[in-house]
């Protein structure tokens, strides 16, 4: 089984968000990056579980500059066999999807995993784009998955209810919560990661079709009105008359 896991980086969830250049550029100064939790906790671990059962290899792929190799090494420490880094700081999802599609189109992976979304933008764009570029069936928001020979059985979150999906490999799967249990890299994994192969690939040129022209920070809430815990009628009145939400 040839498995590929797309991993992205995202600012540490507690990072301070600010902008520079007249609010057009994200200020990366002092920001720590982590591997996107959906990729690390669910997509990668599920790929490892499938490999442990059926044999094969788990390859990581990441579109990003050299600085991001710490994230790739972490994925290798958790258990991936090798990795590909496409050497470009991507400008948007189309860039990411096109770079990955170009790098893997002749590789015949059986299953390609992405995370449900990158938590900083909540876009959920790359998986759908990549599956179209590679013309693969795409099972989004998988919460359970089992593979037998070349048949995958998945449970997907269909918004309010779940669906069971049966599909023949090759496929692309986006990993949602529940698909696997987070694994913490151990010392041995961290040592072994250092000697695993990390291939660097040159990017292709992609014309971007959208552009962020400005950022704003939302207005803070006007200070909180405290309501007497004995007087919930007053809270209901405020919600009805002032906030007009009930």
């Amino acid at each position: 089984m040839k498995l590929l896991v797309c991993i992205s980086k995202t600012p540490d969830t507690t990072a301070k968000i600010s902008f520079i250049n007249d609010n057009t550029t994200f200020n990366t100064e002092g920001v720590q990056y982590i591997m996107n939790p959906y990729d690390e906790w669910y997509a990668l671990v599920k790929a490892l579980e499938i490999k442990e059962k059926a044999g094969g290899t788990v390859t990581l792929i990441h579109v990003g500059p050299k600085n991001n190799e710490t994230i790739i090494r972490k994925g290798l420490a958790i258990g991936a066999d090798d990795a590909i880094r496409i050497d470009k700081d991507p400008v948007d999802s189309l860039d990411v999807a096109t770079q990955i599609a170009n790098a893997v189109q002749d590789e015949n992976y059986d299953i390609i995993f992405t995370g449900k979304e990158t938590i900083e933008f909540n876009n959920s764009e790359v998986g759908s784009m990549l599956s179209e570029l590679l013309q693969l069936p795409f099972v989004s928001y998988a919460t359970k998955m089992d593979v037998q020979d070349n048949l995958a059985r998945l449970t997907r979150d269909a918004g309010g209810h779940e669906e069971q999906v049966e599909v023949t490999l090759p496929i692309l799967v986006s990993a949602s919560k529940g698909l696997a249990e987070q694994r913490i890299p151990n010392m041995r994994g961290i040592m072994m990661a250092k000697s695993k192969a990390l291939k660097v690939v040159e990017p292709v040129s992609v014309e971007s079709r959208s552009e962020i022209i400005a950022f704003e920070t939302p207005e803070l809430r006007s200070s909180c009105t405290l309501v007497d815990p004995e007087n919930m009628d007053e809270l209901v009145r405020l919600l009805h008359e002032e906030a007009k939400v009930i």
Binding site: F19, M129, S131, A158, V165, R209, E211, P218, V236
Partner: protein, 318 residues
Amino acid sequence: MSVLVYAEQNEGVCRKPAFEAVTFARHTADLLGTNCIALTIGNPSNASELGSYGATEVRNISLGWSHFDNLVYAKAIADMAGEVNANVVVLGHSGQGRALAGRLAIRLQAGLVSAVNSLPELVENLIVRKSVYSGKAIASVMVKSPRSVFTIQGNSIPPAKKGTPVEVVEANVTLEESQIKVQTLASESGAISLPDAELVVSGGRGFKGPENWGILEELAEALGAATACSRPVADSGWRPHHEHVGQTGVAIRPNLYIAIGISGAIQHLGGVNNSKTIVVINKDPEAPFFKAADYGVVGDLFEVVPRLTEAVKKHKSG
């Protein structure tokens, strides 16, 4: 030139997300001086209603089979976009919408902006806004290509009536055979779906254990609200995973979010801070959540919540 909106149905009916998408599409069509055409798949019973929100035409593709397959649907929607010469395609930012949008952007060579939460502006190109960095900032995004695909964040564009019901016409497009087999599991019909809910009552570790959720459910029922929880609550199995809200759970933006016994960690706020009104009930006056709240109640949830439920019932019956 036209604007095409895919009006998704849910159990045979077009619901609020469809009307929100049509409202956005109609507004875009007005800006561009063109038509707004709605597409439905599988004959939703109220498809003609889409006209009341601004669709000038409604076309439907009848289904030979009933499940959602993004590969097959994307091809049909793209074919339709070709037939009506659409330069803008609008979808809801639902599970279906998200799975389709990237495919459509590739097929149509269109610029994609997802989770849009404002009506568009036209300054040479279309400009829309979306929430980024887990709700900590808003980005204005400009589409640079002649064609665009947008997905519309739920509960951010109020459906606006404009026009009258129109006759539904069978589309000149067919669906290809699906290569995947799908079976629907236990649908929780009756329960209010969290991403679409206008009112949400949410509980955290302050509840101490799953056996104490009754008072939260009673409040939710009195309000007609959906229920949600913090991540440790779902992780401990006190509540189902799909109720987990926050940066790594569902991101929601209801009109009212009542957070009970939740401390207000930044990762939790990341999924709820776009709610219109936030009420926080916590016994610790220093809980960080109060800084993000509109209304706060400092007190023991086990006393405050039943009292609030009574007050809501009194209000509803009075």
